[in-house]
């Protein structure tokens, strides 16, 4: 996004000014809630939404949500002011502002919602707005791919989370988070705990890009820089962390929680910081450090101790401040020089002193140097790691390694472009002076806050850290105190080791980078793995379609009749058969004769190879059926059957002239399987019919028609009255079906075949 939209006039416009004003207004509104929350209170607001399903738009402001809300609106104000200038003159500036504001409101919904269903809806809204913002440069294939990837990964996680939310609702009987928290261990003690845990964690891990779902986040850097600063470092990706923190009182405290979060968080943190060192694009570097921060947050949410939670909350605030500042700073550099390549940039401090200051402030907080807030955070991380109940060595090692790498990366990002050697910087990329003020306010203010809170942590402690820890652990006394000098202890020694290791890593980073690049290129790429996964899904769908939709009529018929047989057997298995073979009564010869006639006709139709004989057989069966209708008092039906059967025979006879002969028995091949299926279905139907005729018959409808036929419909033939009076609409529908069939038949026949067409064409050609 290095395009210059340097049009001074454009930033002072509706799409430029409205978003920062909205964000600032919201920030002021949340600011007013600070005293209540600092005193340990919370504010709740409920609007009925779907009361029938226990879904309400209920919002709550407690320590955790207020910290997030202030970060979202505060950083949002600065980012939007920044983008007013950054995007000024862009043809789609208004669209961009709309997306960004929509995102901010959705994210506020996520952190304020007290109803799990509402939380899910806002959660998905952030996924969608993130998709729109990553794909903002929609003409670029890279952007589109990154946007779709983020949508699919986080969307799939969101669906898992929805399932988890529904299970929680079933177990707890409510979707209100505050009510669930008040129930104590109701989720932990439920047999569905593991299912809830896995589903919720899937949602959180995809959103917060934990290994192995991390790959979408570096790709999301295809978005314009303000988006990366706002969504993909400071706010949205912390949604998963927020969810884990929100569910902490209800779900945490079990072994599976402790170990899952420890292992995934620790591995993500170390892996991401190693890969961060490999990147040369500064934005990519920052993306991986964001992954590292998310991993650290998850790692420290694993343990229930006061130090670990205080450390997680403090680090959350620290990271949001310095990471947003660094992203915005990189945007300034990119904006003024046209490159973000760490290997090229150097010596910018002369031309861009204020940017250099902002970078130094944020970078030192990131590296954890005293007296910055980052130092306090790092000390707390070590203390939290030392009291870890999982594995102190693992947690401390992961934290130490990640922090040392952060130190080195902080130096690469914040120092080298400004104070490093500039021999690689071409004339074209030399800085054109300082970035405009709208773009400097954000990084300077956020970087400065890192220093201010480091020197005076009490305000932050009282208004944000303690209330948030209280929201997680239910007790403000659990919050540990933030201070710069905690005396000589293990944490301080560990800090010393971190700095030492960090300096070594920075000095060797070029050599390390070459090695890392070789290893990274040779090893498995999750990003390419994702592509293979998508192709695999398409292939699998194709394979399955080929199996199910073979295009062979016989196979479809086999499936149809097999299913019918299975269904019939299922019904029989449920209700049982009631077959009583009555002694054959002394029937007249005519009944035996009709049945024998039908069976003979059927046999002929099945056996013969002659078309005419088969048609004759069918005709015999039809006449037999008509005779049965006559014998058993259905004269109208019999007449219809006779007429229809005659027509069938005539039509078949005519058609047979235009159709080929029937295949011989050799051509058909052995069909024992078909015969077995046919006999099985036939036998089942026979048995069911016998059962039905042995049962009782509900004659209420028949009696109604018999009683009402003459008095209300004035007809003496009850069958006719049913057809044209009681059920007239059915008959009308039947007539329509016949008419449609006739019209379609005419249309098909008149069109003529391929041969007919080609013949007529040649005739036309001749004339």
């Amino acid at each position: 996004m290095a395009d210059d939209h340097d049009d001074e006039g454009h930033w002072f416009s509706l799409p430029g000014l409205l978003p920062p004003i909205i964000a600032a207004g919201l920030f002021a509104a949340f600011w007013r809630a600070l005293p209540t929350v600092a005193d340990g209170g919370s504010i709740r607001h409920v609007t009925q939404w779907v009361p029938g399903m226990g879904v309400d738009l209920s919002f709550v402001i407690d320590g955790l949500s207020l910290t997030f809300a202030l970060l979202i609106t505060g950083i949002g104000t600065l980012v939007m002011l920044y983008s007013a200038r950054y995007m000024a003159g862009h043809p789609q500036h208004d669209r961009f502002s709309l997306y960004l504001t929509a995102f901010m409101l959705s994210m506020l919904g996520v952190v304020l919602a007290d109803n799990l269903i509402a939380l899910f809806v806002f959660w998905e809204l952030t996924t969608i707005t993130s998709f729109l913002l990553i794909g903002f440069s929609h003409a670029s294939g890279t952007s589109r791919r990154a946007a779709l990837q983020a949508l699919l990964v986080t969307g799939a996680g969101g669906l898992a989370m929805l399932a988890g939310v529904i299970v929680i609702g079933q177990v707890a009987g409510t979707y209100e988070l505050s009510e669930i928290r008040a129930m104590g261990g109701v989720l932990r003690d439920s047999p569905a705990y593991l299912a809830i845990f896995v589903l919720i964690v899937l949602g959180a891990f995809t959103k917060s890009a934990q290994l192995p779902f991390h790959f979408w986040l570096p790709n999301a850097m295809a978005a314009p820089t303000p988006v990366s600063a706002f969504l993909h470092s400071a706010t949205m990706v912390k949604g998963g962390v927020y969810l884990l923190a929100r569910m902490h009182p209800s779900l945490a405290g079990t072994d599976v929680w402790l170990w899952t979060l420890t292992i995934f968080g620790g591995v993500t943190a170390v892996f991401a910081s190693v890969v961060a060192l490999r990147q040369t694009d500064l934005k990519q570097t920052l993306a991986y450090t964001t992954l590292m921060a998310l991993g650290t947050l998850v790692l420290f949410l694993a343990a229930p101790g006061g130090y670990a939670i205080t450390a997680a909350v403090t680090f959350l605030v620290i990271h949001s401040l310095y990471k947003a500042a660094l992203f915005l700073m990189i945007g300034c550099v990119d904006h003024r020089t046209g490159t973000r390549d760490a290997a090229l940039l150097g010596g910018l401090w002369r031309k861009m002193p204020l940017t250099a200051l902002a970078a130094a402030l944020a970078g030192m907080s990131m590296a954890g140097i005293p007296p910055f807030l980052g130092f306090i955070g790092k000390e707390l991380l070590y203390k939290g790691g030392l009291e870890s109940t999982a594995s102190v060595v693992f947690v401390i090692l992961a934290t130490l390694l990640a922090s040392a790498l952060m130190f080195a990366v902080g130096a690469i990002v914040a120092l080298k472009p400004f104070w490093g050697r500039a021999e690689n910087l071409s004339e074209r990329n030399s800085a054109k002076g300082e970035a405009p003020w709208q773009m400097l306010v954000g990084p300077l203010l956020l970087g400065g806050l890192g220093l201010y809170f480091g020197l005076f942590p009490h305000w932050l402690q009282d208004n944000s850290i303690t209330p948030t820890v209280a929201a997680l652990l239910g007790d403000p006394a659990q919050a540990k105190e933030l201070h710069l000098w905690a005396g000589v202890n293990t944490a301080l020694y560990l800090s010393g080791v971190t700095f030492l290791l960090g300096i070594i890593l920075y000095l060797w980073h070029l050599r390390l980078r070459a090695g890392l690049t070789r290893i990274d290129d040779a090893s498995f790429s999750f990003d390419r793995g994702w592509d293979a996964f998508l192709v695999g899904i398409t292939r699998c769908a194709g394979w399955l379609t080929d199996r199910l939709q073979t295009g062979d009529l016989r196979q479809y018929m086999l499936v149809v009749f097999g299913t019918i047989l299975a269904g019939l057997l299922l019904v029989i298995g449920r209700t049982g058969l009631n077959v009583q073979i009555p002694p054959l009564p002394d029937l007249h010869m005519k009944q035996y004769f009709v049945v024998i006639l039908m069976i003979a006709g059927t046999g002929l139709a099945v056996m013969t190879r002659s078309r005419i004989a088969a048609i004759g057989g069918l005709g015999v069966v039809g006449i037999g059926v008509a005779l049965i209708f006559i014998i058993y008092s259905a004269p109208d039906v019999a007449i219809t059957q006779l007429m229809v059967e005659t027509l069938v025979v005539v039509l078949f006879g005519v058609a047979a002239l235009r159709l080929p002969v029937l295949p011989s028995r050799e051509q058909e091949g052995a069909r024992w399987g078909h015969a077995a299926l046919a006999i099985a279905v036939g036998t089942t139907v026979s048995l069911i019919l016998l059962t039905v005729t042995n049962g009782t018959l509900d004659l209420r409808l028949t009696d109604y028609f018999a009683a009402e036929s003459y008095p209300t419909a004035f007809g003496r033939n009850i069958v006719n009255v049913i057809l044209v009076d009681f059920r007239a609409f059915d008959t009308f529908g039947e007539i329509s079906v016949v008419v449609v069939a006739a019209l379609s038949a005419v249309a098909l026949l008149r069109q003529g075949g391929k041969h007919a067409k080609s013949q007529s064409r040649t005739e036309e050609d001749r004339t």
Binding site: R144, V535, A706
Partner: protein
């Protein structure tokens, strides 16, 4: 008679299914005719058999006198016969048309709409564009 009729319905159904599983579309149509006859008989018989008493109301009476045959299944079967005939006629014309277009009545060779997987153009080349662009 119920026993005989049940057996005949079963035989009709079995023969119809056997015919409908044939490779020839013409035999399939034979099966279709048989199975609709079988279904009609099934409905008719499950409404009970009454010999020699059609459901009619004699002159001067307001309701049928004595036990008469069940009118309801008769009405249903009557509708079914006509609908079945419509279906049969349309299928027959379709078969004629298909034969004149495709030159065959072998169902396994009538694959204009659903070509065989091994004769189709490679699906991976057709979809790879979409996935790489997406």
């Amino acid at each position: 008679m119920e026993l005989l009729l049940s057996a005949s319905v079963g035989i009709l159904v079995a023969a119809a299914i056997y015919l409908m599983l044939s490779r020839s579309l013409l035999r399939f149509l034979f099966g279709l005719t048989l199975i609709s006859n079988a279904a009609n008989l099934l409905i008719f018989a499950s409404g009970r058999l009454t010999a020699g008493a059609p459901p009619l109301i004699p002159e001067g009476a307001y309701a049928p006198v004595g036990d008469v045959a069940n009118a309801l299944p008769q009405a249903l079967v009557l509708t079914a016969i006509v609908i079945g005939f419509g279906l049969f006629a349309f299928s027959l014309v379709l078969a004629i048309r298909a034969y004149s277009e495709l030159g065959t009545l072998e169902t396994s060779n009538m694959r204009l709409a659903e070509p065989r997987p091994d004769l189709r153009p490679d699906p991976s080349t057709a979809t790879s564009n979409e996935t790489s662009a997406g």
